[in-house]
Amino acid sequence: MRFLAKIGNIVWKDLVAEFRTKEMISAMMIFSVLVIVMFAFAFKPVGDTIKAVSPGIIWVAFTFSGILGLNRSFVNEKQNETLTGLMLTPVDRTAIYFGKVITNFIIMAVTEAISLPLFFIMFDYGLAGSILHLILIIFLGTLGFVSIGTFLAALSANTRASEILLPIILFPILVPLMIGAVQSTAMIFDQKAFAEFAGWVKLLAVYDIIFLVVPFILFDYVLEV
């Protein structure tokens, strides 16, 4: 129980700091909406086009704004070397990993919860498919994103140009997640039955598990002083 409580402590600390300044979450939300608007200019937002491109637009908006938040989750800990302070405390270093994953997940979820409805409103596009299925896909996709994303953010935080390095090392790894998330979302918008995209759900679930377990095993190496 103590381990979980300490993870909770880390999450609490990060969320208090974030919601006091709101600097990251506001940037993420604005960026997410901005991306969606840019796409509106890139593709004419009419009927069939929207249907075809909206799953992609949504996930691109989520991942691009998500990366802003990921980067910050470890760069923030460089100020006053708080990361060292954390590593001195009597808790397994993986608590830091899980704490950051949870924090990033929460912040991303909030961003998504606000930008997704905005998307539907801006494009006058009603959600025809099952909202529960959509939530499941967004949950699995976001979880996979923050799991490997937090891990690689910790890795790139060791460099000086972490904002440049992180997208380059993260996006190739995210390819299966993106494909799975976009395909399932498209099928949900098309009101397909769950059985039809269950395969993609399985892919997302497997991806999530692998990229939670492997970072968990390797996290100590990424924090080496």
């Binding site: 390095l165 190739p172 790894i173 390819v175 390797l218 190496y221």
Partner: protein
Amino acid sequence: MLKPSKTQTLLGWVTFIVTMFALYMTFIYAPMEKVMGVVQKIFYFHVASAWNAFFAFFIVFVASIAYLLNKNEKWDTIAKVSAEIGVVFTTIVLVTGPIWGHAAWGRWWTWEPRLTTTLILWFIYLAYVLVRASSIEGEKKATMAAVFGIIGFIDVPIVFFAIRWWGSLAHPEVVTGSGGGLDPRMLHALITSVIAFTCIYFYLLTQGILIERTEARVKSIKNQLRERNN
């Protein structure tokens, strides 16, 4: 330059002979394909390079794990050199693929699974190289690169399955069961090419490691001189 060992020189000669043989097999022994003519021969180099592109990354994966387990620099060197060679082979695949594709189906790029996975592999290699080029000091850099090498390699099969399910133009099945669809002589040429390219890979690997070690020696001598003068 540090002297290559006897095995390395032997490897060099073996590689040369096998490659010459493979060239013979490709251009003379294997029959000309009806439709595409001589351009089809690029297929032998394409497949051989593809095999090595992924094999090189597998070596990066193994060397990365070995490095994390015992922090011996030699594993880091192997990973580094293998990655450099892998980038080259991957690039060859990405260049020969479209050339062959255009000759065979009239399209430069189709999003077929194997080629697309190779494209993603190329980006993962690039990311790996960028991690190595970044501003991390010394031993930490080797650790970070090793960690990314492991993550990258684990991702590749998942990428392949995802892209395959995503669906696209089918790559004409080249080698199925008893080698159907291919003239047996073509199959022989193909296997010889793969072996030849693998020899090239190992030869380049040993040469690259030799160069890295020479560089390290020079650096340490420079450091010793610097300390002595202070």
